[in-house]
C-alpha cells in the first residue's frame, strides 16, 4: 500500500492537450461551427436572430427532443425505432380529441400519455420479455403509424384552435415554444442525470447489466424507464408537430425521425453499444445535421444530392471520432 508514492506520476503530468479526447468531445461542435461560418459568409440573412431562433432552432428542436430520449435508450444499450410513429400517433389522438371538443387541458396530456404508454409497451417487451430492442420497437414502428392513420382515416385533420396555434407559433420568453421546450427538457435531463442516482444507474445498466443487477440496481426498471421517457418525449413532440402545421398528418408526422435521432446520437460520439450518454453533444449532433440539411436546401441543392452529402458527412464525422478513439 505504500508504494503509491513510488509510482512515477504516470497519469497526471503527461496529459498536455489530449487532442483525441478533444475531437471526441467537440467534433460535432466543430463541424457545426464550420457550417455556421459557411452560412454567415454565403447565406443571406443567416445571422438574423429571427432566422436563428425561428427557423434553424425551431426546425431542429422537435428532432432534438426526440434525440434526447433516444440517447437515453441508447445509453442502456437499446434502440427505439418507434419514436417517429409515436410522434404521429400522439398528434393524431390529440387532434381527434381536440376536434371532438375535449378541452386542451385534457387533450394535450393525453397526447403525452399516448407516448408514455408506447414507451411502457416497448420497455416491457425489452426488459420483461427479453425481446431484442430493435425488433421490439419495430412492432410499434409498423403498427403505430397504422394506428395513427386509423384514428383519422389517413386524412390530414386541420385543427384551428388557439391552443394548437400556440403550440405552433407560440413564443415563450422570446423563444419559439419548441425551442423553449427543448431547453427545459435538456436542463431537466441534465439535472436529473447529474444530481440524482438515475444517471449513474443508466450508465451502469448500459455498461454492464449483470454488474448493475448485482449492486442492487433494478435493471429492468431502469431500462423500462428509458423507453418510457423516450416515448413521453416523442408524445410531446407529437403535440409540437401538430402545432407546427396546425393539423395532424398521420402519414408524414415524425417520418424518419427515429433515423435522424439515431444519426445525431451517433455523430455526437456516443457508441450504440450503450454505457455512454451526453445530452449536450446529442443536441449539437442534431443541430449539425439539421443545419447541414437547411444549408443544402437554401443553396438550391436537389434533395438527392443533399442525401449524398448527408450520408458522407455522417461517415466523415464518425470516422474522425473513431480515429480519435484509436489514437489514445
Amino acid at each position: 500500500m505504500t508504494d503509491l508514492a513510488t509510482r512515477p506520476a504516470e497519469t497526471s503530468v503527461l496529459r498536455k492537450i489530449d487532442w483525441p479526447t478533444f475531437i471526441r468531445r467537440y467534433g460535432a461542435a466543430i463541424v457545426l461551427a464550420l457550417l455556421v461560418l459557411f452560412n454567415i459568409i454565403f447565406t443571406e440573412n443567416f445571422l438574423d436572430l429571427r432566422n436563428i431562433l425561428f427557423v434553424q432552432l425551431r426546425q431542429a428542436a422537435p428532432t432534438a427532443i426526440v434525440a434526447l430520449g433516444m440517447a437515453l435508450v441508447i445509453a442502456t444499450g437499446g434502440i427505439d425505432l418507434s419514436v417517429g410513429a409515436v410522434v404521429a400517433l400522439s398528434g393524431q389522438v390529440t387532434a381527434v380529441f381536440l376536434l371532438d371538443g375535449v378541452p386542451p387541458l385534457v387533450a394535450l396530456p393525453i397526447g403525452i400519455l399516448v407516448g408514455v404508454a408506447a414507451g411502457l409497451f416497448n420497455g416491457t417487451l425489452v426488459s420483461r420479455f427479453g425481446i431484442q430492442p430493435m425488433i421490439a420497437t419495430l412492432v410499434l414502428f409498423t403498427a403505430g403509424r397504422g394506428l395513427a392513420q386509423v384514428v383519422t382515416g389517413g386524412r390530414i385533420q386541420t385543427v384551428n384552435q388557439p391552443i394548437v396555434e400556440f403550440l405552433g407559433l407560440g413564443v415563450v420568453a422570446g423563444l419559439p415554444i419548441s425551442v423553449f421546450s427543448l431547453i427545459v427538457v435538456t436542463v431537466a435531463i441534465m439535472l436529473v442525470t447529474r444530481f440524482t442516482p438515475a444517471g449513474t444507474k443508466l450508465l451502469a445498466v448500459g455498461g454492464n447489466e449483470r454488474a448493475a443487477g448485482l449492486v442492487g440496481i433494478r435493471t429492468k426498471r431502469v431500462k423500462t424507464m428509458a423507453y418510457v421517457v423516450a416515448g413521453g418525449l416523442a408524445g410531446f413532440v407529437g403535440l409540437l408537430e401538430l402545432g407546427r402545421i396546425q393539423a395532424s398528418d398521420a402519414t408524414n408526422a415524425g417520418l424518419n425521425m427515429e433515423l435522424d435521432a439515431i444519426a445525431a446520437v451517433a455523430v455526437a460520439g456516443t457508441t450504440l453499444a450503450g454505457g455512454t450518454f451526453s445530452p449536450g453533444r446529442t443536441i449539437v449532433g442534431v443541430l449539425m445535421l439539421r443545419l447541414l440539411q437547411n444549408t443544402l436546401v437554401a443553396h438550391g441543392i436537389p434533395r438527392e444530392v443533399a442525401q449524398i452529402a448527408q450520408g458522407l458527412i455522417i461517415v466523415a464525422a464518425i470516422y474522425l471520432l473513431r480515429r480519435s478513439r484509436d489514437a489514445r
Partner: protein, 342 residues
C-alpha cells in the same frame, strides 16, 4: 404525352393583372383543358366484359393517404355501392412492387373488372397478366407505359388528367396573379412520380415565355405539409425577395402558406401562392385570400369510371384514353365551389 401547342384558345381574359412587358402569358387566358387527340383509337382487343346486373370489381389503389387519394378511393367505393356492385380495394402503400403483388392477388380472385390507379407508369407487365386471365382493366389517374402494356389491348382505357397541362395552367395563373414579374420558388411532389415530373415540365416550359418570372429554387417536398413548410422557411430566409410560390399539390401549398406566415409575411399579399389539386382547404384559402389560384385535379373518378365500364360492357365504343375535365379556381369562382370540393 399531350402536346401543349394549343395555348390561347377560348375564354376571356379576367384582366385583373396589369400587363407586364416581357411576359406573354401574364395577360393570356387560362389555356384550359387539353383535348384528347381526335385519332384516339377505340378499345377493341381488350378482354370483353359481359353485361350483368351486378358486378364484382376490384380496385388497386397505389396509396391511401392524403385527402386526394382518400377522396378517390371513397368515390370508387361510393359509386360501386350506389350501383349495387361488390368492390374489393387494395392499398399498395406507395410501394410499386407491393402494388404488383396486390394486383396479382386480385387477379387470382377473378373479379369481373379491375380498376388500377398505377403507382408508376411501369407496372404494365402485370396488366398483361390480367388480360391473360380475361379480366378487363381500366386505369385511372395515371397511365402505364406503352412499351409494357398497350391501351385497347392489354387494358381497356385510361382515365387521366393531363398533368403537363396542369403545370402549364398553373404557370399562366401565376403569371397573371403576379403581373408577370417576381421571384418564384417551386415545391415538387413525390420524386419521380409522373404527376410531379409532368407538372414540372408544363410549369417550367410555360414559364419560359415569361422571363420576368424568375424561378429561383425548386425543391422536392414530397407532398408533405411539414416538409414543405421547413423547406419554404429555409428558402425564404436565403431568398428574402421571393414573391411567389408554386406548389404542385395542395398539402405542400398549405405548408408553404404556414411558412410564409411564420416568416412574418402575408400570404396572398407579400407572397402569392398557386397550387394544384382543388381541395376544400385550398379553395377556402383562395376565399380567404391566402392563395391566388388553384388548378383542379379532380379525384372523384368513381362515377366516370363505372359509367365507362358499363359502356364497355354494352359494347359501346370506348376510346383508349379519356381526359378528365379540370377547372381553374381563383378568387372569381372559389367561393362558389368550395363546398363541393373534396
Amino acid at each position: 404525352s399531350v402536346d401543349s401547342g394549343g395555348s390561347s384558345e377560348g375564354g376571356a381574359a379576367a384582366g385583373a393583372a396589369s400587363p407586364a412587358a416581357n411576359c406573354a402569358i401574364a395577360t393570356a387566358a387560362d389555356p384550359g383543358n387539353s383535348q384528347p387527340a381526335d385519332d384516339t383509337p377505340i378499345a377493341e382487343n381488350a378482354p370483353k366484359l359481359a353485361q350483368k346486373d351486378t358486378y364484382r370489381v376490384a380496385f388497386s389503389q397505389n396509396a391511401n393517404n392524403g385527402a386526394w387519394r382518400i377522396a378517390e378511393t371513397q368515390s370508387m367505393q361510393d359509386e360501386a355501392k350506389r350501383l349495387g356492385y361488390q368492390i374489393q380495394v387494395t392499398d399498395a402503400q406507395n410501394n410499386q412492387s407491393k402494388q404488383i403483388q396486390d394486383i396479382r392477388s386480385l387477379i387470382a380472385q377473378k373479379p369481373d373488372a379491375l380498376f388500377v390507379a398505377p403507382m408508376t407508369e411501369e407496372i404494365g407487365t402485370v396488366i398483361g397478366e390480367a388480360k391473360a386471365d380475361g379480366i378487363p382493366v381500366f386505369l385511372i389517374d395515371r397511365t402505364v407505359s406503352d412499351s409494357q402494356a398497350k391501351a385497347g389491348t392489354d387494358y381497356v382505357t385510361t382515365i387521366v388528367s393531363d398533368f403537363v397541362q396542369e403545370g402549364k395552367r398553373a404557370a399562366y395563373a401565376l403569371a397573371k396573379a403576379t403581373g408577370g414579374t417576381g421571384k418564384v420558388i417551386a415545391l415538387e411532389g413525390t420524386t419521380g412520380s409522373s404527376s410531379a415530373v409532368d407538372r414540372k415540365k408544363g410549369f417550367e416550359d410555360a414559364l419560359k415565355e415569361c422571363p420576368g418570372l424568375e424561378l429561383v429554387a425548386t425543391q422536392d417536398a414530397d407532398n408533405q405539409r411539414a416538409r414543405a413548410q421547413d423547406i419554404t422557411e429555409s428558402l425564404l430566409q436565403a431568398n428574402p425577395d421571393v414573391t411567389a410560390v408554386y406548389a404542385q399539390g395542395d398539402d405542400m401549398a398549405m405548408g408553404a402558406i404556414a411558412a410564409i406566415r411564420a416568416a412574418g409575411k402575408v400570404p396572398g399579399k407579400d407572397i402569392l401562392v398557386v397550387s394544384g389539386d382543388g381541395s376544400k382547404e385550398a379553395l377556402q384559402a383562395i376565399v380567404d385570400g391566402t392563395m391566388a389560384a388553384n388548378v383542379e385535379c379532380n379525384p372523384r373518378f368513381g362515377p366516370k369510371a363505372f359509367e365507362i365500364m358499363k359502356q364497355y360492357a354494352a359494347g359501346d365504343d370506348v376510346p383508349t384514353k379519356i381526359l378528365n375535365e379540370d377547372r381553374l379556381f381563383d378568387a372569381s369562382n372559389a367561393a362558389e365551389f368550395v363546398n363541393q370540393a373534396y
